[in-house]
Symmetry: C2
Subunit: 201 residues, 2 copies
Amino acid sequence: MQVKSVRRSNPERTAEMRARLVAKARRLFVTHGYAATSTPSIVEAAGVTRGALYHHFADKQAIFRAVVEAESEAVAAAIAAADTPGLSARARLLAGAKAYVLAMQAQGRTRLLLIEGPAVLGRDTIREIEGRNGDASLKTGLEEAIAEGTLPRLPIEALTSLLSAMFERAAIDVAEGEPTDNVLAVIAQVLRGLATSEQKA
Amino acid sequence: MQVKSVRRSNPERTAEMRARLVAKARRLFVTHGYAATSTPSIVEAAGVTRGALYHHFADKQAIFRAVVEAESEAVAAAIAAADTPGLSARARLLAGAKAYVLAMQAQGRTRLLLIEGPAVLGRDTIREIEGRNGDASLKTGLEEAIAEGTLPRLPIEALTSLLSAMFERAAIDVAEGEPTDNVLAVIAQVLRGLATSEQKA
DNA sequence: ACTTGCATGCAGGCTGCCTGTTTGTTAAAT
DNA sequence: ATTTAACAAACAGGCAGCCTGCATGCAAGT
């Protein structure tokens, strides 16, 4: 390692070192979990010392957060790429859910974003990271559906939260072996049921 | 403390000490989280030394697991007490969901069972602890509803998992301030929608 | 162009804490 | 009277965060 030692400007060094540490840390966090991943093991994998890590990150949580943020952005990008405007609100919701579940199948993604993330960083922080991506678009999608009358008037915050919880569990279940078609069938049915049934019975 | 020092048989001592340690640990786990709760702080709160703790529990995870198990049993008991047989399958499901959400409002319960539990003990272990209670009865309830034709034929595992994920998020949202009526309205609508809409559209 | 001075990137060691283990002591059970 | 359970207390690693020191990049003055 470090054989080349090319001339690099400081901004380049910083970016490369941070990316290197985040990549190595990601693998360890995914395979062993946050608590069982020591900072010595991270820097050993990156071929540097703990001095480097603590120069770029305030503490162990900070590098974990960097890993989670990168992961969240990757998911958001995949969903945005799969978005198909022009469809009905309900169809777009279903397509978005499918894209989300598929995007979450990258190795370790459910563990990072859905299991350890909330426990290590706290639900508020995770929402701050993911919220501006995932839930926000889901919420607007639901609002549109309500506005165009294809969805009954329901408390938007609760509706968004409960549906996103369903999507998240769907991603976990698929990652654990449940056939994608099964969870998508349930999601489709729930969305269809929400749309068809009229408010009060 | 320890002023009385009454004559106690060993089984009594064991039961009392375990209960005492679990109770003190519970408070600390709830307020500071698992990682930030040290075994010295637990035994200090209980007025003993770490020798006592490690005599009764194999490791730190073991006492956390004891806390989680006690919590899970309390939830199961509350739900069982609220069960009202004789209703339609769908009404029982809704009543069960409401009982679950209410039972989960005990201080720190969502954090223990839904946030830290899966991260610390792993999803498999949590399912082993909770599974025999919560999801099992939900699954049979759903199967009954499908059998009696009030619910469409859907993959039972996926359906159970996604609905329980919704209920869990509902409990978290209520614990974080969302009005109970809001989340219950969404749950009711989802259950109603599932029931009314016929299989394929 | 050169050097002077500061900032940045990183290495290595130090401290305090924590977890799990082991050894020792007291009280109960047989 | 032994044996065993309940606890205390000391011990042995390991880890997180901090701090100091060195080397390299960078900017400004001359």
